[in-house]
C-alpha cells in the first residue's frame, strides 16, 4: 500500500487488498440447499413458520405506512412545494403525482406471495439446477449484520434468477426478506409484475435524472426503508444483467442514495454486503448472444415467460452463492469524508453531493465489485472455454486436458476461486463441462469443436453470424476469468507491445491499456501503479517474468504463460483497434449511439466476411459501447446531451493517435515512470 500511495495522482484510501498484501485467502465451505428440498415436502417448506431475524431497532410497519411516511416526509414535501411554486400549480396536484409515483414504485410485501414463491421456486430450481451451493458462514455473518445495522445487499447480476434466488435463500435461512430495486419493465408483465411486487420488489424507472419529483420520491422511499431498518435493501451495482458475464462498471445513483443516511448520521452505520452469484450455465446465455449481436431483446412479457418454460427440461448445472463479509460503511468512510457540508444545511434539503463524496461513492462501488469478483466461483468449463477460444476451430482433447490442468494452477495462483473437488480428475471435469454445454462445444473424433455449424451451406453472412454467436457464447464463460487475470495479463500484453524491457516503458504501456480498457474491466480508480505492481507480482509468482531494478523480462519457460495471457486479451485489443479504426475513418463527425452501433457492426461484419479479420468479438455491442465510452474518457470523443439522448463528436485525429499507440507500439510518455 505504501508504494501505491506514491502513485500518480493521490493516495486512495480503501483501495483493494491485493494478493501481495495477503498471505492467504481463506474462503468458506459451501452447502447445497437443494439437497434438503429434494428430501422433504416443498409445501411444508413453503408453509413453515417464518419468524425472520430483523434489525434490532425496527419498529414493525406495513408497506403502506412506509409510503405515507415518504409522502409526508420533509424531503418530499419540500420538493413538492418547490415545484408547485416554479410551475404555478397547486401543491395538491403535485402531491397527487407523487402518490401515483409511489403507487407505481412501491412494493407490497406479503407473506402469502413469499410462500407462493417459496413453493414454486423450489419446484423450478430443483428442475433447473443440480445444486444451489451457499457458504453458510456467510449467511451467519449476514444474520448478525442484519440485527446490528441497516444492510444493503449487493449481488452480482448475471440472470433474472439472481434476485429470486437471493430472496429464496434468505427465506430458507429465516432472515428478513430484502426489498429489491427492479427495473420498471417488469411491470409490463401481467401478474408476474404484481407477484414480484408482493415478494418485495419495488420498481424504478430506467432513467429519471431530470425528473426532480421522481428522484425525490424514489430516494426518500429507499432511505426511509433503510433508516427504519425495515428490510435489507437489495440492488445491483451493475445496474443491469451483464450480458457478457463480465462484471459491468458500477452505477452510482442508488449506491449514493443508500449511503446518504450514514453521511447525514441518520444511522450509526450501514453494512454493504457483496454477494457473488456464479452460474455454471447461465439461463439466458443464448438470448444474451443474440442481443449482443443486435437481435433485439424480447420485451418482458408473461407469455414470453411461459414460452421460455421449455428450458425447464434443460440442465443448468450448479449455482454458487457466496455471501461476502459485510463491509461497514463507517469504517470505509473513517477519515475520508469531511462532515461540514451536511452540518450547515438542513438535512432534508436536496443537496448535490460534494466531489469528495462522489469520489468516495465511486471508490466504494468499485471496491464492492472487486469483492464480488474475488468470490465468484469458476467452474472447470470456464478454463476450457478460455483455452478453446485460443485454439479455434478445434482442439485436441488430450492437449485440452493437459492445458486445463495447467490453467487451473495458474488461475489459483492469480487468486481465482475454482470449484474443482480434489478427487476429480481432469478428464471427468472437462467431460462434464462439455455435457452441460453441448450447445457450445462438442467432442468429435478426439477433438473438442466449437458448435458453430448448422448452416453449412448458407450465405457467408449467415455463417459469420452463426460463428459469431457460438464464439460470443463461449466467450461468456472465458470472460469470467478476465477480471481475475486482467492485471498480470495487461502486464504481459504491455511486455509484448513494448520494444524494450525497461520497466518504465512497460508501465506506461500498461497504464495506457488500463485507461483504454477502464470500461471493459474493473479497476479501482486511481491506483494504476498498484495494479501494475500486483500484475508483476503475480507474474513473478508463477515464474513467468523476472524483474530487476530497471527491467522486466519474460523467463525462458515463462514465455508460454506470457503469450497465453496476452492472447487471452488479444480479442479486446483487436476489437478496440477495429472500432477505433471505424471511428477515425468511417464515421461522420457527429452521431448518436443508435447510429454508432449498427454502423460499427456493419463495418466489422464486412471485414469478417472478407476474412480480413478474425475478431468476431468486435461484433459485440457491449465491446462497442465500452470502446466508445473509453474514448469519451480519454477525451477523443465528446459526449453531449441532447433532447433525444446523447450525441457524440469524434476528434478523429485524437482517435488516430490512440490507434497508433496500439499499432505502432509507440511508447507513451508518462512522467510517473520515474517513480518505478
Amino acid at each position: 500500500m505504501a508504494t501505491a500511495a506514491a502513485a500518480p495522482g493521490r493516495a486512495r484510501r480503501g483501495a483493494p487488498m491485493y494478493s501481495k498484501e495477503l498471505t492467504s485467502k481463506k474462503r468458506d465451505e459451501f452447502e447445497d440447499i437443494l439437497e434438503e428440498r429434494r428430501l422433504s415436502s416443498d409445501l411444508r417448506y413453503a408453509m413453515k413458520c417464518y419468524t425472520p431475524v430483523i434489525y434490532k431497532g425496527l419498529s414493525p410497519c406495513k408497506p403502506n405506512a412506509i409510503k405515507s411516511a415518504v409522502l409526508q416526509s420533509e424531503q418530499v414535501q419540500y420538493v413538492i412545494k418547490q415545484l408547485a411554486k416554479e410551475m404555478g400549480e397547486s401543491p395538491d396536484i403535485i402531491q397527487e403525482e407523487a402518490t401515483e409515483i409511489l403507487d407505481e414504485m412501491g412494493h407490497r410485501m406479503q407473506l402469502g406471495a413469499v410462500r407462493f414463491f417459496a413453493f414454486t421456486l423450489s419446484k423450478i430450481f430443483k428442475q433447473l439446477f443440480q445444486r444451489v451451493c451457499v457458504n453458510e458462514e456467510g449467511m451467519q455473518r449476514l444474520q448478525h449484520a442484519i440485527q446490528e445495522h441497516p444492510v444493503v445487499l449487493l449481488p452480482s447480476h448475471r440472470s433474472y434468477v439472481d434476485f429470486l434466488m437471493l430472496s429464496y435463500l434468505l427465506y430458507t435461512y429465516d432472515l428478513a426478506l430484502p426489498v429489491i430495486a427492479a427495473g420498471i419493465d417488469f411491470l409490463g408483465m401481467k401478474i408476474v409484475g404484481e407477484l414480484l411486487r408482493r415478494a418485495g420488489a419495488f420498481f424504478m424507472r430506467r432513467s429519471f435524472g431530470g425528473n426532480r419529483l421522481y428522484w425525490a420520491v424514489f430516494a426518500e422511499y429507499v432511505k426511509t426503508m433503510l433508516r427504519s431498518g425495515y428490510a435489507p435493501i437489495e440492488f445491483f451495482l451493475e445496474g443491469t444483467r451483464s450480458r457478457t458475464a463480465k462484471t459491468l462498471t458500477p452505477k452510482f445513483g442508488l449506491l449514493s442514495i443508500v449511503m446518504e443516511p450514514f453521511f447525514k448520521r441518520e444511522v450509526f452505520d450501514t453494512y454493504l454486503v457483496p454477494i457473488s452469484i456464479s452460474y455454471e450455465r447461465i439461463l439466458e446465455e443464448s438470448l444474451y448472444a443474440y442481443e449482443l449481436l443486435g437481435v433485439p431483446k424480447p420485451k418482458e412479457s408473461t407469455s414470453g415467460l411461459l414460452k421460455a418454460r421449455r428450458i425447464l427440461s434443460d440442465n443448468f448445472g450448479t449455482i454458487h452463492i457466496y455471501v461476502g463479509q459485510p463491509v461497514s460503511l463507517r469504517t470505509l468512510a473513517s477519515g475520508r469524508i469531511s462532515r461540514c457540508p451536511y452540518n450547515l444545511v438542513p438535512r432534508h434539503l436536496p443537496q448535490k453531493p460534494s466531489e469528495d463524496i462522489q469520489e468516495f461513492v465511486s471508490d466504494v462501488a468499485y471496491k464492492m465489485e472487486l469483492l464480488q469478483i474475488e468470490n465468484m466461483v469458476l467452474s472447470p468449463w470456464v478454463l476450457v472455454a478460455a483455452l478453446l477460444l485460443q485454439n479455434l476451430p478445434a482442439m485436441e482433447f488430450e492437449l485440452l486436458l493437459e492445458k486445463t490442468l495447467w490453467l487451473k494452477g495458474l488461475t489459483r495462483t492469480f487468486g481465482g476461486f475454482i470449484e474443482w473437488p480434489d478427487n476429480l480428475c481432469a478428464k471427468k471435469a472437462v467431460l462434464s463441462g462439455l455435457t452441460l454445454h453441448s450447445n457450445i462445444a462438442q467432442l468429435v473424433d478426439g477433438h473438442v469443436v466449437l458448435n458453430d455449424k448448422g448452416v453449412e451451406d448458407g450465405a457467408t453472412g449467415e455463417i459469420v453470424f452463426k460463428r459469431a454467436l457460438a464464439i460470443l457464447m463461449c466467450a461468456t464463460y472465458r470472460n469470467q476469468l478476465l477480471n481475475v487475470f486482467v492485471r498480470p495479463s495487461l502486464v504481459a500484453l504491455a511486455l509484448q507491445m513494448t520494444p524494450s524491457f525497461r520497466k518504465e516503458e512497460v508501465y506506461s504501456c500498461f497504464s495506457f491499456l488500463r485507461d483504454v480498457f477502464s470500461d471493459e474491466f474493473i479497476f479501482f480508480p486511481g491506483i494504476s501503479l498498484k495494479d501494475f505492481e500486483e500484475g508483476c507480482f503475480l507474474l513473478t509468482k508463477c515464474d513467468a517474468i523476472q524483474t530487476s531494478q530497471q527491467e522486466i523480462y519474460p523467463t525462458d519457460k515463462g514465455s508460454v504463460t506470457v503469450s497465453f495471457l496476452s492472447a487471452m486479451f488479444r480479442p479486446f485489443v483487436e476489437g478496440y483497434q477495429l472500432i477505433f479504426r471505424y471511428l477515425s475513418k468511417e464515421t461522420k463527425e457527429a452521431f448518436t449511439e443508435k447510429q454508432f452501433i449498427p454502423g460499427v457492426r456493419n463495418f466489422v461484419f464486412q471485414l469478417l466476411e472478407k476474412g480480413v479479420t478474425q475478431c468476431y468479438e468486435a461484433l459485440s455491442s457491449d465491446m462497442q459501447k465500452n470502446a466508445l465510452a473509453a474514448l469519451v474518457q480519454l477525451g477523443a470523443v465528446k459526449k453531449k446531451k441532447m433532447s433525444n439522448g446523447f450525441t457524440y463528436n469524434v476528434n478523429q485525429e485524437a482517435v488516430s493517435k490512440i490507434l497508433d499507440m496500439f499499432d505502432a507500439r509507440i511508447p507513451v510518455q508518462k512522467p510517473v515512470a520515474a517513480r518505478l
Binding site: 447525514k264 448520521r265 441518520e266 450509526f268 462532515r339 451536511y342 452540518n343 438542513p346 438535512r347
Partner: protein, 635 residues
C-alpha cells in the same frame, strides 16, 4: 479564574436542586463554620488597604482549601459515598439531603452496570507526598516587590499543588497516584481590584506568567500549567475577593467582586431578598469570575438566562490596562460587544475583578415535577414542542433510560411500608397498566419557579403538552431525585475510582432535528470504542437533554467504565472521549455548550474557521503581547 465555572461533572445547567434546598445547604454551611457575615456585605467601600493580611475570609472557601475540601476528589471532606459494614451504599455528612441515608439498591446497580465488585478496590495514597512536589522558583526581586504590596502569598507545596488542577479525570488520577509535571511557583491572594492591578503590573515588569484561579472546578484542563513554561507561574487565587459591593434595587443589578463563589453570592443576595438565579452544577464552589471567563450556563437559564444574558458590566485587568464599559446599560451598539471578548476567554487575556450582574427577587414558590415517556423519541418530541411554545419551566431535562435507572439506584431506603407499597403501585400502573417498558421508558424532570398561581398554571400547560406525547405525570419526588443525581455525580466518581470505575461527562449543543441521531450515535460510538479498546465490560453510556433553546438543545453525556485489565486506563479513556467528540462533530453538534478549555483545542480551527481563530489570536496579541496570561487555553 478560568477554572471556576467549569462544572466538575454535572453541568448542562443546573445543580442538584433548587435554590430553596440550596439555601438550606448554605445555611448548613453557616452553622458548620460560624463566622460573622464578614464585612458589611453591602458596603460599597473599595479595597481600603487591608493589605496582605486580609484577615479571615468572609467567604465559604478558606485560603487553605484542603481544610474544607477534599484534596484528591470532589467537594467537602465530610461528604462522600461509602460502602458501610453491611456492604450498603451510604452518603456521609450532614450537608446534603442525602446525608446519612442508606441507598439499598445502589450496590447491585454498580455491580450490574459495570461488572465492578467490592472485593476489587484501589486506594488513593493517603496524603500528598510533599517531596515529589516540583520546587518553587521565584525571582528574588519580584518577591521583594510583592512583599512591598502587602498582598498575601504562599510558596507552600500543598497550596501550589491544589491550584495546579481542576477536576478532569486525569487530574484526579494524578492526585491519587502521581504528580503534576508543572505547578504554580507561588500563590497570591489579592483582596480587591487594586491588588490585582498591582500583581499584573509586577508580572509584566518581571515577565512572569499568571494563571487566574477561582473555584478550581474546571473540567477542561483549563488550570493545567503548560509544561514548557519556563517563567515563574503565579497562581492568582481570587477567592478572597468575595464581597458584594452594592445592590441597585431600582435597576435590579448588583456589583460583585469576581472571586465570590455561587453559594455565597446567593446567600448574601437572599439576605436582601434577591437572587441571580444562575445555578451551574458547580455553584457551591465555582466563582462569578470563573462563570464570566468560561461562558457558564446555569440550570435555570430558561428564566434567568446564561451568564452572557446576566452580565451588565465587567471590569477586567489585562497587561494592557483595565478594560470596561463606561455605563451599566442593557444593550449598546458600538461595534462588537467587548464583553464577548472577555466571556469565554478562559483566563488568557486578564483577570475579571468586578462584575455587575442582574438580580431578581427570590421566587415565591418552587415546585418539582416529572413525566414518564414511553421512549426517548417521544420525550425529545415533547421537549421540542415545549421549546417551540416557549413555555419551558425554569428547568426541563430529559434523561434516557440508563440514566433513569441510575437515578433509581440512588433512591434512599424508604421509611414506611406504606411508601414502598405506593411505589410498587406506581410502578405497576406505569409498566403493566400503561404498558411502558421499564427498559425503554425515559423521564423528564421539571422545576417550576415563580408566583404560586403562575407556577400552577404553567405546570398545567406543560403537563398538557406532555400528555400529547404520551407522557404520564410521575410525581415531584422523581423530579427532585433527578436533580440530585447531577449534583452527587461528582461525588460518585470518587467512589467509582475506588473500584476501578472511571467516568466523565461531556456536553454539546445541537439543532433540534439532530438531537435523536446524535444521542444514539454518540452512545453507540462509546460502546463500540470501549469494545475495540479492550474494555472488558460494557460501559455506562448515557445522555440527557438538559437545556432547551428555540433552535436546539444542550445534550449531556455520562460515560463510565470498569477498567480492570487495562494497563493505561487514562489513555484509553481519553481515546474514547476523543472519538465521542469526533462523533458529536460529525453529527452536527458543537464542540462545546459550556465547557471549553485545553481539552477542545485541537478542534478549534475546524470549529470556528481559520479566520475566526485569527480574530481571537489578534485580540490576544493586542491585549497580552508577552503572554503574561500564559495558561494556553483555547488558542
Amino acid at each position: 479564574m478560568a477554572a471556576a465555572a467549569g462544572e466538575a461533572a454535572g453541568g448542562g445547567g443546573g445543580s442538584p436542586s433548587s435554590a430553596r434546598r440550596r439555601l438550606r445547604i448554605i445555611s448548613g454551611h453557616l452553622r458548620g463554620a460560624p463566622r460573622a457575615p464578614g464585612r458589611g456585605a453591602l458596603s460599597p467601600s473599595p479595597c481600603k488597604a487591608q493589605g496582605g493580611s486580609a484577615g479571615p475570609a468572609s467567604g465559604s472557601i478558606p485560603k487553605k482549601r484542603q481544610e474544607l475540601l477534599k484534596w484528591n476528589g470532589w467537594g467537602y471532606n465530610d461528604s462522600k459515598f461509602i460502602f458501610n459494614k453491611k456492604g450498603q451504599a451510604e452518603f456521609t455528612g450532614k450537608r446534603y439531603r442525602l446525608g446519612g441515608m442508606i441507598l439499598p439498591t445502589f450496590k447491585e446497580w454498580i455491580e450490574k452496570t459495570f461488572g465492578a465488585s467490592l472485593e476489587h478496590k484501589t486506594t488513593s495514597r493517603a496524603s500528598l507526598n510533599v517531596n515529589d512536589v516540583p520546587p518553587s522558583f521565584v525571582n528574588e526581586e519580584f518577591l521583594q516587590d510583592l512583599i512591598a504590596t502587602k498582598i498575601s502569598y504562599s510558596q507552600d507545596a500543598e497550596d501550589r499543588v491544589f491550584r495546579a488542577h481542576g477536576h478532569c479525570l486525569h487530574e484526579i488520577f494524578v492526585l491519587r497516584e502521581g504528580m503534576f509535571k508543572r505547578i504554580p511557583d507561588i500563590v497570591v491572594w489579592p483582596v480587591c481590584h487594586e491588588d490585582v492591578v498591582k500583581i499584573v503590573e509586577l508580572a509584566c515588569k518581571h515577565n512572569l506568567c499568571i494563571i487566574p484561579f477561582g473555584g478550581g472546578t474546571s473540567v477542561s484542563s483549563a488550570l493545567e500549567c503548560p509544561e514548557e513554561e519556563k517563567r515563574t507561574i503565579i497562581s492568582l487565587d481570587t477567592s478572597q475577593m468575595n464581597r458584594i459591593l452594592w445592590i441597585d434595587e431600582k435597576n435590579l443589578t448588583a456589583c460583585v467582586e469576581a472571586g465570590i463563589v455561587g453559594q455565597d453570592l446567593e446567600k448574601q443576595l437572599a439576605e436582601s431578598g434577591f437572587c441571580t438565579g444562575h445555578e451551574p452544577d458547580s455553584m457551591e464552589f465555582s466563582s462569578l469570575g470563573g462563570w464570566v471567563a468560561t461562558r457558564a450556563s446555569g440550570m435555570k437559564k430558561n428564566i434567568y438566562g446564561n451568564i452572557e444574558d446576566l452580565v451588565i458590566h465587567i471590569k477586567m485587568v489585562t497587561p494592557r490596562g483595565i478594560v470596561e464599559k463606561n455605563c451599566q446599560v442593557p444593550r449598546m451598539s458600538t461595534g462588537p460587544d467587548i464583553h464577548h471578548f472577555i466571556m469565554g476567554s478562559e483566563g488568557t487575556l486578564g483577570v475579571v475583578t468586578e462584575v455587575t450582574i442582574k438580580i431578581r427577587p427570590v421566587p415565591e414558590y418552587q415546585k418539582y415535577g416529572s413525566v414518564v415517556f414511553p421512549n426517548f423519541e417521544r420525550g425529545v418530541a415533547c421537549l421540542r414542542e415545549v421549546a417551540k411554545q416557549r413555555c419551558a419551566p425554569a428547568s426541563i431535562r430529559l434523561v434516557d433510560n440508563a440514566q433513569f435507572q441510575f437515578g433509581h439506584a440512588l433512591k434512599p431506603q424508604v421509611a414506611s411500608i406504606f411508601t414502598s407499597f405506593l411505589d410498587g403501585l406506581k410502578k405497576f400502573y406505569i409498566t403493566k397498566f400503561k404498558g411502558f417498558d421499564p427498559n425503554i421508558l425515559c423521564v423528564a424532570t421539571l422545576l417550576f419557579e415563580g408566583d404560586r398561581e403562575k407556577v400552577l398554571q404553567h405546570e398545567k400547560q406543560v403537563y398538557d403538552i406532555a400528555t400529547k406525547f404520551g407522557g404520564l405525570a410521575a410525581g415531584e419526588d422523581n423530579g427532585q431525585r433527578g436533580y440530585m443525581l447531577t449534583f452527587v455525580i461528582a461525588y460518585l466518581r470518587d467512589l467509582g475510582l475506588d473500584y476501578y470505575v472511571i467516568g466523565e461527562s461531556f456536553e454539546t449543543s445541537v439543532p433540534w432535528d439532530r438531537v435523536l441521531d446524535l444521542c444514539r450515535n454518540v452512545k453507540e460510538r462509546i460502546v463500540r470504542e470501549c469494545k475495540e479498546k479492550g474494555v472488558q465490560f460494557a460501559p455506562l453510556s448515557t445522555c440527557r437533554v438538559t437545556q432547551t433553546y428555540d433552535a436546539g438543545a444542550c445534550v449531556y453525556f455520562y460515560f463510565a467504565f470498569n477498567y480492570r485489565g487495562i494497563s493505561d486506563p487514562i489513555h484509553v479513556y481519553e481515546q474514547i472521549e476523543r472519538a465521542a467528540r469526533e462523533e458529536i462533530l460529525a453529527n452536527g453538534g458543537s464542540l462545546s455548550h459550556h465547557h471549553g478549555g485545553k481539552l477542545r483545542k485541537r478542534w478549534m480551527k475546524e470549529s470556528i474557521s481559520d479566520v475566526g481563530l485569527g480574530m481571537l489570536r489578534s485580540v490576544k496579541e493586542y491585549v497580552d503581547p508577552n503572554n503574561i496570561f500564559g495558561n494556553k487555553n483555547l488558542l
